[in-house]
Symmetry: C2
Subunit: 283 residues, 2 copies
């Protein structure tokens, strides 16, 4: 049976490091500050934002949650972003997704100052990632967290065949760039790819981010592969589960992330790690 990647443990190690970095910055008079803007009353978003806030406070980060009404206009939201862009005490700024229908989300992403873009979604930061710029810049937190997990478990990256299932801007595309920059051979498959198995079976590292519960089964995985499951799905009983059929795959994989307790805990830890990095880089 494959070993289970303990995302909670890796996240906890990152958080411990973040806490030390926060203390160091505070001694230099810098209080790392994260602003999360939330528009409307989406319950899942509110829970997620509250979890980020609590953990940020635990680590000594100044966390500001700015709640705006569901009927906020594009211009009103842009004005709020401009306010935080200009505020030198704010190092990290994000707008929680999803946004109400009247908001043009890509335009909001482009309005956030690239140097405060803690989500790493601004095209200039994405472009620095794809061109492997030798600069400091933020990167989308879920794939960046996955890189931290792979490194924590000493997964060989150079020359490995990494297959990414899903091509979202939040996970699949930046994940491909990160793995390419780490000298992996990278394949991106998606819903136009036909039989996924022909690709996934050749993967040394398989990252699955589709939102389709149990899409990846035992026969889709190469023996000994490292399997990273980004899914946060509900099974037929409403139980949280992943894009990978964990019970079927765990015996064939060399390393595998569970859901929950795998990628999930890494995302907030990486967001707070990156908040501190932005504060350092702004100095």
């Amino acid at each position: 049976m494959g070993d289970i990647i303990d995302g909670k443990r890796v996240a906890s190690d990152i958080n411990a490091q973040t806490k030390i970095e926060v203390e160091t910055l505070k001694k230099r008079g810098i209080v790392p500050t994260l602003v999360v803007v939330i528009v409307g009353e989406d319950n899942a978003s509110k829970i997620y934002v509250r979890n980020k806030h609590r953990k940020a406070v635990q680590l000594g980060i100044n966390s500001v949650v700015r709640q705006l009404p569901a009927e906020t206009t594009q211009d009103e939201l842009l004005a709020v972003i401009a306010e935080y862009n200009q505020d030198p005490t704010v190092h990290a700024l994000m707008v929680q997704s999803p946004l109400p229908a009247q908001i043009d989300e890509p335009a909001i992403t482009r309005a956030i100052s690239p140097v405060k873009d803690v989500d790493g979604f601004h095209p200039i930061n994405v472009g620095k990632l794809l061109t492997n710029a030798q600069l400091n810049f933020p990167v989308s937190c879920t794939p960046k967290g996955i890189m931290s997990m792979l490194r924590a478990y000493n997964v060989p990256l150079e020359g490995a065949h990494a297959v990414i299932v899903g091509r979202s801007n939040i996970v699949g595309r930046p994940m491909a760039a990160l793995l390419l920059n780490a000298n992996a051979t990278v394949t991106i498959v998606h819903h136009h790819s036909g039989d996924l198995s022909q690709y996934t079976k050749t993967a040394d590292i398989l990252v699955v981010a589709t939102g389709i519960a149990h899409l990846i089964k035992r026969g889709d995985v190469k023996p000994g592969a490292t399997v990273i499951d980004v899914g946060m799905d509900r099974d037929e009983n409403g139980k949280l589960t992943g894009d990978v059929d964990f019970d079927g795959v765990k015996d064939v994989a060399g390393l595998i992330t569970p859901v929950p307790g795998g990628v999930g805990p890494m995302t907030i830890a990486t967001l707070l790690q990156q908040t501190v990095e932005l504060a350092k880089w702004s100095d």
Copy 2:
């Protein structure tokens, strides 16, 4: 035997269209203007810039070649860029590569106004490409030209397995993003990938951009594949040749680009096409 992709013909069709668009813009009082900055006396660059200039003039584009001395400093070059960035009569601006050793080339790339970035190398344009932004923005000319060739020959892209050999910022990486946005399954291989053949043999579309003469041989290609050779190499006799062993591969490929006469003619045609697009978008 596979069919040969006639890059000269596709380029000629694009140039004819560009000429019409230039005339239309001129009637509206807009003279599409391209500025190419060249630093120093690299002979290959000078020939290439002269070819661009001649073709631009043929198509009615206002082409300006700004020759700077080899000892130009970073600040002097940045000042020249700033001058053209601010000049509303200039629509397209590029700095010819290679640059002398005292110049920080990535910083020059980032200094060019993204709306005049006819090379498509600015990270914000690369990021728009990787995130498949539904906006007008320039894209690196060689891969954009390859997309035009694939479309001209009705090569099916959706669900096709595209394998790109080489991961440069000029070709491999933007090529991967373009093909992914066109719904291909995309694999990027490079010099850390070990045995390339295991990947290239599964390609429906194989794009090779390595600078290694005849790297890809008959046994590396799937029968019927479309093979795009970006190489401009010299063989042992000093003759121009490609990264693909054309004579060996042409019988197994379904479609193949020759060198010369394949990708080469497309790059200048695409640069001038994109000059006109930038002029239109600026209006």
